[in-house]
């Protein structure tokens, strides 16, 4: 009896997983094919004369919308902002949608995602983890050589629109800096060739515990700083599941970028991926006594200042 129940639940879970996986590329393909309406590149905002240093934040897979960051992410970005008052931080890019449309925005299943969001706020982790699952599949879409270019093409257009609206000017002296947390790092690297193409500017990626493939986008980066927590299991998973990250793949984009010094690894002692003990966990402290988000923000601020 119990065995039958477990088997049924497993079958339902596998079928559900396959369905979510099969539907994952549809948004990108639909956007490309024009099934879901037009998407035009927003022109740079007129009237802003002074180019600004812009940092675009691409959140982790727990993100549900560009308008709604998780509390610890918002606090963490506040730390960075305090250290870099002259830098404009773009916080409202939703990196897991080809059009940058959040899950709770104008979508067919917006009410479903809103319900899950409310459940998450009430502390229900099981069902709300569907948000993470959905976004993990979008990371897979971004890393897939078949769908990745389409997905990244759309996301890059969203980033360009937001960065230019924030005052970024491609002809200015600064590179466009993208801060990608977890799966956001994959999205950032995938979008890099399109950003180069659209802006003609240098692109610098800061990967915070990035779970990313050996993406061809690495070849166009001016630099990537890869921050790796000592206890970050998710980052390690990325090193295992993506064959291009294996040391044996000597000519992969990742290993070539490592050899050429484009990718620089920055260890983060004592830190893990998520709370508790994560890069942004305000309740965790390093050996020096500082809270984790302050230490992480300091490292990121010094990297941004050096660009």
């Amino acid at each position: 009896m119990i065995f039958d129940l477990i088997t049924t639940l497993l079958v339902v879970a596998v079928v559900g997983l396959l369905l979510i996986g099969l539907l994952a590329p549809m948004e990108s393909l639909g956007w490309w094919a024009g099934w879901s309406g037009e998407s035009h590149l927003p022109p740079p905002e007129a009237g802003v004369t002074q180019p600004k240093h812009v940092l675009v934040y691409l959140s982790g897979i727990g993100s549900i919308s560009g308008d709604e960051l998780l509390a610890e992410e918002a606090l963490f970005l506040d730390h960075i902002q305090a250290l870099l008052p002259d830098v404009v931080i773009v916080r409202d890019v939703f990196p897991y949608s080809v059009k940058g449309v959040g899950l709770t925005s104008a979508r067919a299943f917006a009410r479903f995602w809103q319900l899950l969001d409310r459940m998450r706020l009430r502390g229900d982790q099981l069902l709300s983890s569907l948000i993470n699952l959905r976004n993990v599949f979008q990371v897979a879409v971004a890393a897939d050589p078949r769908y990745g270019p389409i997905f990244s093409c759309g996301v890059a257009q969203v980033i360009v629109g937001k960065a230019c609206a924030a005052g970024y000017r491609p002809d200015g002296p600064r590179p466009l800096v993208l801060l990608g947390y977890s799966g956001g790092a994959q999205v950032a690297v995938g979008a890099a060739p399109f950003l180069r193409h659209l802006l003609g500017a240098r692109v610098h990626v800061i990967s915070l515990g990035g779970v990313l493939d050996s993406d061809p986008g690495l070849r166009v980066l001016s630099r990537m700083d890869h921050l790796v927590g000592e206890h970050d299991l998710m980052e390690r998973i990325g090193r295992i599941v993506y064959p291009g990250r294996w040391p044996i793949a000597r000519e992969s984009a990742w290993n070539v970028a490592r050899r050429e010094g484009v990718v620089r690894i920055q260890p983060m002692p004592g830190m893990s991926h998520n709370t508790p003990g994560g890069y942004m966990d305000p309740g965790a402290r390093t050996n020096s006594g500082a809270v984790n988000p302050e230490v992480t923000a300091l490292v990121i601020a010094s990297i941004v200042r050096s660009t």
Binding site: L22, W32, G34, A140, V141, D144, P193
Partner: protein, 210 residues
């Protein structure tokens, strides 16, 4: 009593020798094999639908591409079966007539019914290779059954047949490419397929959306 279509497919997926034996002698074996091939070809084409979407083919052309994908797999399978059929005699197998070989080895393509799963992001291309290995194992089992060969010899015949088919297609590569282009043009209405990386060349220009 003959097994149903589903039982034939399930047996082939399990590499069950009895199922292949039943398919060889069943009056419906040919129909089952051809149905499996057509559906598997359509499913595999569906799994690779990104190329069709990338090229923005119409719904009618999309459906046509699925049908032609099925027919293409039938042709591909027939070439392989014919080579294995010729080789089996050299390896000392029983000289079965061609049709029973089609019934059995066509059914061996059943794993490709899952070809639509190739659509899955990132793991899709890996699944595509695994499905082809599964088909190869099923063809080895089927070859062993229909020609009465021991599995090792059947494996040599199937793999040699596979390589010979590959070599033939290489030798007649131009012909194959022409046929492929014709199939592409007929099914999609486009002269040459657009690759995912071409998206980069189109970015920022809006004329491709017209």
């Amino acid at each position: 009593m003959d097994p149903s279509f589903g039982e034939f497919v399930r047996g082939a997926l399990r590499l069950d020798r009895t199922t292949f034996d039943l398919a060889e002698h069943s009056p419906f074996g040919l129909r089952v094999a051809l149905t499996v091939l057509l559906l598997a070809g359509g499913s595999e084409t569906l799994g690779q639908a990104v190329v069709l979407v990338l090229n923005r083919v119409s719904k009618r052309r999309f459906a046509l591409a699925l049908v032609l994908g099925g027919l293409e797999l039938v042709f591909e399978a027939l070439v392989w079966i014919a080579i294995v059929w010729l080789l089996a005699g050299l390896f000392g197998g029983e000289r079965a007539s061609f049709l029973p070989a089609v019934r059995v080895l066509g059914l061996a393509y059943a794993p490709l019914l899952f070809g639509a799963l190739v659509f899955l992001p990132y793991i899709g291309p890996v699944l595509a290779r695994l499905l082809r290995v599964w088909v190869l194992l099923a063809v080895v089992t089927g070859t062993s059954v229909v020609f009465g060969l021991v599995p090792v010899v059947a494996a040599v015949a199937a793999v040699t047949g596979f390589l010979a088919r590959w070599l033939l297609l290489r030798l007649f590569g131009q012909l194959a490419r022409t046929a492929d282009r014709w199939l592409w043009r007929t099914s999609t209405g486009h002269t040459a397929p657009l690759r995912p990386t071409d998206a980069l060349l189109r970015v920022g220009s809006q004329e491709h959306r017209e």
